[in-house]
Point group: C2
Amino acid sequence: MFDFKSCLNIGKDEYKNMMEPLIIKLGELQRSARAKKIPVLIILEGLDASGKGAVMNELLIALDPRGYKVYSNNKDSEEELLRPFFWKFWKNLPGEGEIAIFDRSWYFSVIKNIKDIDKKEYKRRCKEIMDTEEILQNGKTMIIKFFLFISKDEQKKRFKKLEKNPSTSWRVTKEDWESNKNYDEILEEYRELLKNTQSETDRWNIICSEDIESAKVQIFQNTAEFLEKSINQYEKDSLEMIPLKEKSFSLDSINLMESVNRRDYKKKLRKYKGKLMELEHEIYEKRIPVVLAYEGWDAAGKGGNIKRTVDRLDPRGYDVIPVAAPNDIEKKHHYLWRFWKDFPKGGHITIFDRTWYGRVLVERVEGFCKEKDWHRAYQEINSMESQWVDDGAVILKFWLHISKDEQMRRFREREKISYKSWKITDEDWRNREKWDLYKEAVEDMITMTSTEDVKWHVIPGNSKRYARLKVMEIIIEELEKAVRKK
Amino acid sequence: MFDFKSCLNIGKDEYKNMMEPLIIKLGELQRSARAKKIPVLIILEGLDASGKGAVMNELLIALDPRGYKVYSNNKDSEEELLRPFFWKFWKNLPGEGEIAIFDRSWYFSVIKNIKDIDKKEYKRRCKEIMDTEEILQNGKTMIIKFFLFISKDEQKKRFKKLEKNPSTSWRVTKEDWESNKNYDEILEEYRELLKNTQSETDRWNIICSEDIESAKVQIFQNTAEFLEKSINQYEKDSLEMIPLKEKSFSLDSINLMESVNRRDYKKKLRKYKGKLMELEHEIYEKRIPVVLAYEGWDAAGKGGNIKRTVDRLDPRGYDVIPVAAPNDIEKKHHYLWRFWKDFPKGGHITIFDRTWYGRVLVERVEGFCKEKDWHRAYQEINSMESQWVDDGAVILKFWLHISKDEQMRRFREREKISYKSWKITDEDWRNREKWDLYKEAVEDMITMTSTEDVKWHVIPGNSKRYARLKVMEIIIEELEKAVRKK
């Protein structure tokens, strides 16, 4: 893998002759990729002092700054440490027509903490990495990844040279010398990790940078080739259609007669609100991030339900994110991007009023995405949710269910009461006509995405009071469990 | 100001009777404000335990969550402490049709650190607050500000009550008891601050919340009144036209014959790049934020100039922000919003390739904003820049100047060289036709915004080499000064 016989050495003139046309070509390819709206992710990994910075500066000079962003993933900020592992990467992923250059990435983040994780967690991370890269590639993001290596002696030489120059000596830290001492061990760790994270469609470009000039040329060549191929094949859709599982759930099985009388409701509501207030503090103390995902029929009572749940919470501890059609920034990104972005910090609660399940509900029913896309979405969503859970989050998903008759009753009521009439639109009536298609979609969704990690809670909602108490009971139970466990 | 005789006390029934119609009304007004695309900022300030949280929850329940966001300004994050005082507020300001609720704001941030600042800085902050609120109001953001007060005894009672309940006792901190002990002093500080921060068009709503129910009713009433008035008067433009100063600068005074030979250029370039690399580290050590603002004629060489400047910098220490037409999120905000948002952390460099001066250049010449708007912009920009400088930043502004003939030569050259031809568009030719209008705008800009804090550097650019060295010399000189001073 790290083959020093592959190391080239080119002279200054040869370098100039090779680079000049490559720089022009890269500029052209960037413009074509932008015209085709391709998101491009360039990952630069490598040993310390292997020349990542020099390569990056060279790349930046070749590219039009209107189209790229560089993200340095060397350190974790406070904000990032309170989020799941992949959060800081997701939020910086490129949108359509953009290039993101990651100066180190999830690979370095694994190696950095490799002493603190056991074999099981290591394996999990490798799988998550492969899943994430596949999800992105299937979502039309083009990924090219480079690993730069140098020999132990060369690394030592570079540290020494940096140290000698007073204007760069600060760059060499104790950790750097440490890493030179442990060179063999670290190289072995990378060898293992790189081996575990390539597939036929997702390969590493492993570059010897003993001679930095020839490394630059190679990286430019590989990047140009990769962009060219990406641009030419971009419209081809070679993905397979993933079959659905046979439906194992029917909404008809839900008992919609459940109800609760006013007196009991008031008493319990009061009690639950107090309990939730306590729990908000306890999850804060333990830095547990909590996601409440609300889905349901139009007029099922999501809004009122959320209001009761948060009623006595400290507004500093929670956020309600109403999910409507994506804005133009969101449209340029992967459909999961905006939900990653809004993931709560440890100790905080985010309530999504409609969710990422839009992909397999409205987008499926209205044909906003291809059949292949929503078929694939179930496992993409399962992968995302299990990452969140494995990194310590509580994820609760609710489907608020009402009968078709009850919906009609509520629509009519809304139309009659003047201050509620804005709540009912033509779109609601149009959706209602597609009740059966939505029912099918909901049942598939619950079948496909009720996992061991995160199951669906289907809430009988014909009685709003009953539904409110039920949701609060589930939240209380699950948060208590999570607090006890941690 | 804090008049306890104004304190009302209403019963439970009266509260219900008054609130119900207010809640409905507020919902309606929110929808009208959204339809009219009005950005609304609600500021909630007040003494500890004065009931801000309760008021906020009540407001949130009345509003449609699709339209508001709550921002808590009680603590400063790491990111925020490394930015100018107003940064964290600007980035959360509401866009068109949105409501932002600030749980505490710039007022609390002043009071919080009042022991650490001298009279001069205090006065400066008061002025900055008034400037900022005026800039926002003139930019069509509607601001309503509330201050909630209670008596010393009532505060004590509330702390005790919170302490007694095991699920809320954690909320009462040592600082809270401290603030009760120093009640009189703190009230006096607020009295002074509130007095210093109101004007005829920007008044405080000072609310007694001894009885929290009647405080809620008052706040709802005031908010409803305020929204109603805002909606009705929104289209009226009662702002005055601010006259321009007589021009004191002409581009014709610039000597465009300056040049430098190739050998000297290479030698100096090398030296300057090394120097900049050192300085990048020194400003990092001292946590100085640096903004380099590039403006200039089309084809003046901004891109190439920036590339040389950053050539040997560590990419982790700087960002290049190319400024094009605003995207749809930016369009919904104040024209200065996106530049605040991208302001560098202390120790970092942000290079803007075109800037906030677009307001008085392209927007003026193309008529994208009203004459009144760009007339007013000069002092808005001066206010922003002097805030940045006073909070410790280095701001350098460059106008790259070339002659009209030189521009023609470069346009022609770009058209001829295939890999440069994408750089020249119809728009460039159209802009060229408006050369005289732009010249006028540039001269006004330099006249109006060369301040004591931040002056303009007009760079003769017919010789690209000369311009590159000149810019680097200025950056080096100014950064050295800043490093020495700190």
